[in-house]
Amino acid sequence: MNLTLKIWRQKNADTKGKAVTYQVADISPDMSFLEMMDVLNEQLIEKGDEPVAFDHDCREGICGSCNLQINGEPHGPDRGVTTCQLHMRKFKDGDTIVIEPFRAKAFPVIKDLVVDRSAFDRIQQAGGYISVNTSGNTQDANSIPIEKDHADMSFYAATCIGCGACVAACKNASAMLFTAAKVSQFSLLPQGEVEADRRVLQMVEQMDKEGFGNCTNTGACEIECPKGISLENIARMNREYLKASVK
């Protein structure tokens, strides 16, 4: 396949960026999207240009590093995949592909397609944990049975990889799905219930401080989430927060 790429290039956080057009040839449909980017970068290095910076690491859809906005959608046109799992067979010969960083005030661009997502870390630091110290005699793992459905729901919420696609897809750049997934994971477990009120209040406060937009329930986040995190989690957080704030 031969493709035209329009890629956002930005030297660093302080400079203005712009979209630059590149051509790549002989792309195999079996390549992953990032392998196509590798081809482009090898080409640029050979020419003596600077390669395009983008975040990536595990390349199997679990670390959450890769985060490209491809043709107007986070992680591109396929569903249920991260950028690294997107394959070139989803595109046609001669296509033009627009590649941009995830855009949000809370995700400032560091370079080219690399953005700073540390806001997510800070939201979790505000309360995304259960306060338990490490000791050799924490109570036995089977001492509190947990309803399978709840354990499963908690697991599904916990599969969030923190990539930021929810923020990127949202017209309001809201981080509700991310925050809600973490709140849900813990509030669904008896171990997490004890601190549930404090947790949800603090995490939402931090989320607001970071400059994310407000949720208007468009549902774009759920559709674009590579892990299919459900909107139910947002409703659960709304409930938890309401409960905590009237107490």
Partner: protein, 238 residues
């Protein structure tokens, strides 16, 4: 903490939006029942019934409380909406070169602000035309004498005449219908969204909420919109 959480946080804004929005849905139902009385065939009975109803709605203390709540809700809903929109714009100062939200969300859900603005404009015009006229007079030739002898504005005649007007009646009806379409779209997202914001989301009753919300969004505005056309085309001229 808890107090400011209910006033200032982003979630609080959602709760108030949802709460006022769903309250306004109830108001719509009440308003519709009043309006449906305009479908009664022309005559003394129809005029009496509608005007007595209008009087009741403007003087009964309980209804008065409700109506002030409604005004407050509209104002709050609008201001909250404007604040949300401004805030949300700020959350993405640099836009995308290519952005395809149509692949992941409904048009109405993304344009609640525009729809809301249309609706707000409609409400202002609507209030000025009917409620304002009635409250502050100006209906020179249409005076209605109530059962206990009080003289009030004849809202019934005003309404019917507005839509039966040979020159502008149809235009008014069409404008009215446009506003109703805006309301329909607004509701098609807003109704179920309100439940989601208040944390009511469960696989068991989500389907019902969505379907009921959709039915509500179509049927209520449709019923409203039918009335002016009925008055214009079907109802006997007065």
């Amino acid at each position: 903490m808890a107090k400011s959480a209910l006033l200032k946080s982003s979630l609080a804004k959602k709760y108030w939006m949802a709460f006022t929005g769903l309250f306004l849905c109830l108001f719509l139902v009440g308003h519709l029942f009043g309006n449906l009385q305009l479908l009664i065939p022309v005559g003394e009975g129809a005029r009496d019934q509608f005007n007595e109803y209008a009087l009741f709605m403007t003087t009964n203390p309980a209804v008065k409380v409700l109506s002030y709540l409604t005004y407050l809700s509209i104002i709050f809903h609008a201001i909250d909406g404007i604040l949300l929109t401004i805030n949300n714009r700020k959350a993405r100062p640099q836009g995308y070169v290519s952005f395809k939200p149509s692949t992941n969300s409904m048009w109405s859900s993304r344009n609640m602000g525009i729809l809301g603005t249309v609706i707000l404009a409609f409400i202002i015009v609507h209030m000025a035309m009917f409620w304002g006229q009635m409250k502050f007079g100006g209906l020179d030739d249409t005076i209605y004498t109530t059962a206990n002898g009080e003289q009030v504005e004849d809202l019934y005649t005003l309404t019917i005449k507005t839509f039966q007007d040979a020159q502008y009646g149809l235009l008014w009806a069409i404008a009215y219908a446009v506003a109703m379409i805006a309301i329909a779209f607004h509701l098609s997202h807003g109704f179920s969204s309100g439940f989601q914001s208040l944390g009511i989301n469960h696989p068991k009753y989500n389907g019902f909420i969505r379907k009921f919300g959709l039915a509500f969004a179509i049927l209520i505005p449709l019923a409203f919109a039918v009335i002016p056309f009925y008055i214009h085309f079907v109802l006997e001229k007065i």
